[in-house]
């Protein structure tokens, strides 16, 4: 078994200074992971704080068998999942209409790329929300966080084959859902000129011929 990082050992013993350093060291990561799992959400801060509270409480269970990052990913995705479940079981006022009302009336033009990116991010996550929790988690960890299937398998505690299967079906469902969304039509139009934005695409010249 690998030797534990001394900071983690001290934190496990409950040293407040070590816990604080742990927070400072990992708060960026935890925020990023929670943000990727939840999407743009007003509850991000709640979830991040709750995640660290859980880190403090359950740090004792980390033995060093897996990577600390794996343990942390698992904890954060669990906290986010619990949070989403709690929020789901309460009837909510859909605020999107009120926002749309304001957006229509705003006299100042908002052409800045930042606003457009936010809109698209919201659109993506609204489609992601239609996936089951399991499929969505795997998709986010793989495509957004770039983790390999083997590590995801450890995080979600399922066989690697299951992870790959969930990933396949998640993408399939998402493609269909995105293709059927008329508000995303302009995205398609932007792409008519070429394969813009395809990750891991091989280079192509102007004719679309593959460059060897």
């Amino acid at each position: 078994m690998a030797e534990l990082d001394p900071l983690i050992s001290r934190a496990q013993r409950g040293e407040p200074q070590a816990l604080r350093e742990l927070f400072q060291r990992y708060r960026g990561d935890v925020t990023r992971i929670a943000f990727r799992v939840l999407g743009p959400s007003a509850d991000l801060e709640d979830v991040v704080q709750e995640a660290f509270v859980q880190v403090y409480r359950s740090l004792g269970s980390y033995q060093g068998a897996a990577k600390f990052s794996t343990w942390l990913y698992r904890l954060v995705t669990n906290v986010a999942r619990m949070h989403t479940r709690r929020e789901r079981s309460r009837p909510r006022l859909d605020g999107s209409r009120a926002d749309a009302l304001e957006a229509q009336s705003s006299p100042e033009p908002r052409p800045d790329a930042g606003a457009e990116r936010s809109e698209r991010l919201r659109a993506l996550y609204s489609h992601l929300e239609r996936l089951s929790e399991r499929k969505r988690t795997v998709l986010v960890l793989h495509d957004f966080e770039g983790l390999p299937a083997s590590e995801i398998a450890e995080i979600v505690q399922a066989p690697v084959l299951t992870v790959r299967t969930r990933l396949f079906y998640a993408r399939k469902q998402l493609y269909a859902s995105l293709a059927a969304d008329p508000s995303l039509a302009e995205l398609g139009r932007e792409l008519l000129g070429g394969d813009v934005g395809a990750p891991r695409a091989a280079t192509r010249d102007a004719n679309g011929e593959r460059n060897e």
């Binding site: 407040p16 789901r88 009837p91 909510r92 009302l101 493609y175 995105l178």
Partner: protein, 491 residues
């Protein structure tokens, strides 16, 4: 290859094609297939859209969070864990047995049916039959809005002023549009919002117990020593505290607890039912929703420092458009006449408007007391600079949206209540509002779109909420407009 019209989209091949991993012949085959296959074309469109959006998502930075605040909360949690560890080290063998016993009993208790609704008198000691040796703590009122009521130990009504000092046995009540803030000699601060009724059962250095008879109370309690107890009793439960900031709400027939800092232990009939730690909400036995469904963070009652008993009083009358005040670290509603103890000299206030805007103002408080006239805020309905004049019949849509958004919590409560028995699924509705010349809502009618019926209780509740709204005065004969609303249940 199958000639079937619809088939599973060839995702693997499409991906390979996009990534340029196919041979020339392979590419040609796919492109020929795509020319005639709508399913695969759709899949490819979806794939392209996903890849674009994914690129945006991967590049999007997480928003800035208030880590300083989190650091403070977590530091307290770490300290709490450290203390717990210390206690465990000392008392471990005994503790294990006790915890097991409690857990068993608590599980049994939670399976009991919800108590039948009846005016809940807490099943705990009431006013002490035997006077304690320790003298009672002084209770100082620090702010009053409107006209809260009090009954003294023998049931006589008492007029509450900033100089009144409530005592053990007193009942304090806040009718609508009133609010009471007070502190105990040991530094605990309490905020009684409108609609509550409490009884000061015990107010001693070693024990504070408050019976929450109705409504909610928000507490900020100094960290307690080992021999001190601070508890709120409500609906048959006792909520016991270990140095925290939390709210307890009596929700007939149950109880709600929200903890912003620290932790509370909830017990029933002397049996531990739940431990709620910050940030946490808990509800028991039939309560519909935990408190604070309308506020993400609790309004913080404030314990003024120093010899505030000698501070002068600040008075502020209610004023249209002003819904609240932030003064000297306390947040108060502005529904009625406000009186608050404040330090003499320069004071910074903030008026919170209906529209969500905050208006800062600086005043000087006279040592003998000051009355602030909100006219000085110079509030006037005005359009945002540069925005077009709204069309006749349409209020400034942004302002309308802001008013409605601010009312979301109230509308949510209407919806939650009406869902008690029936399930409605998604509901789109149109709220038709008639605004008179001064900006008051003279009529509010809720109609569902798509021809679906709107439950009568829900419509009535929404009407009641909407009729309290105020908009910028349109003048003339007023206006009518529709506000779209959507409600969803997620299962």
């Amino acid at each position: 290859m199958s000639e079937a019209r619809s088939h599973e989209p060839k995702l693997g091949a499409l991906r390979a094609h996009r990534e340029g991993k196919l041979s020339a012949a392979g590419r040609a085959r796919i492109e020929q297939h795509l020319a005639g296959c709508e399913t695969c074309c759709e899949a490819r469109a979806g794939m392209q859209r996903y890849e674009t959006l994914l690129g945006i998502a991967r590049g999007a930075p997480a928003p800035e969070l208030d880590f300083a605040h989190m650091d403070a909360v977590l530091a307290r949690e770490a300290a709490r864990l450290a203390r717990k560890r210390q206690i465990q080290r000392v008392a471990r063998p005994l503790a294990l047995a006790a915890v097991a016993c409690l857990a068993f009993v608590a599980m049994r208790a939670s399976r009991e049916p919800a108590p039948s609704p009846r005016p809940a008198q807490p099943d705990l000691r009431a006013a002490p039959a035997v006077p304690s040796q320790a003298r009672a703590l002084a209770v100082h009122i620090t702010a009053i809005v409107g006209a809260p009521r009090a009954l003294d130990e023998v049931g006589q009504p008492v007029l509450l002023t900033l100089d009144t000092m409530p005592r053990e046995g007193w009942i304090l009540e806040t009718p609508a549009r009133s609010e009471l803030h007070f502190v105990l000699e040991d530094g605990a601060a309490l905020l009684i919002p409108a609609g509550a009724r409490i009884r000061l059962d015990r107010v001693r250095p070693d024990e504070v117990q408050i019976a929450l008879l109705r409504g909610r109370v928000v507490n900020a309690v100094q960290p307690l020593g080992p021999n001190r107890r601070y508890a709120i009793a409500a609906a048959g439960y006792a909520v016991e505290v270990r140095g925290t900031h939390f709210a307890v709400e009596h929700l007939e027939p149950g109880l709600g607890v929200q903890v912003d800092e620290g932790a509370v232990a909830v017990s029933r009939g002397g049996v531990l039912v739940a431990e709620v730690r910050a940030p946490g909400r808990w509800r028991g036995a039939g309560a519909l929703a935990a408190p604070g469904a309308d506020e993400r963070a609790l309004r913080r009652p404030r314990a003024p420092a120093g010899a505030f008993e000698t501070w002068p009083a600040l008075q502020i009358p209610p004023w249209p458009q002003v819904v609240g005040w932030e003064i000297d670290g306390a947040a108060l509603i502005a529904a009625d006449e406000l009186r608050m103890r404040v330090p003499p000299g320069a004071l910074a206030l903030q008026a919170l408007l209906e529209s969500g805007r905050r208006v800062p103002v600086q005043i000087t408080v006279d040592p003998l007391g000051t009355r602030f006239d909100p006219r000085a805020l110079q509030l006037r309905p005005r359009h945002r600079a540069g925005s077009a004049q709204p069309e006749a019949g349409t209020p400034d849509a942004a302002q309308a949206a802001a008013v409605i958004r601010a009312a979301q919590p109230a509308l949510q409560r209407c919806y939650e209540r009406s869902l008690r028995r029936a399930s409605h699924g998604a509901l789109r509705a149109r709220l038709r509002l008639q605004i008179d010349a001064r900006g008051n809502v003279s009529r509010a009618e809720l109609r569902a779109e798509q021809g679906l019926p709107v439950p009568a209780t829900f419509a009535k509740c929404v009407r009641g909420v909407a009729q309290r709204w105020r908009f910028e005065a349109p003048g003339g004969s007023g206006i009518t407009f529709d506000a779209p609303l959507a409600f969803q249940t997620r299962n």
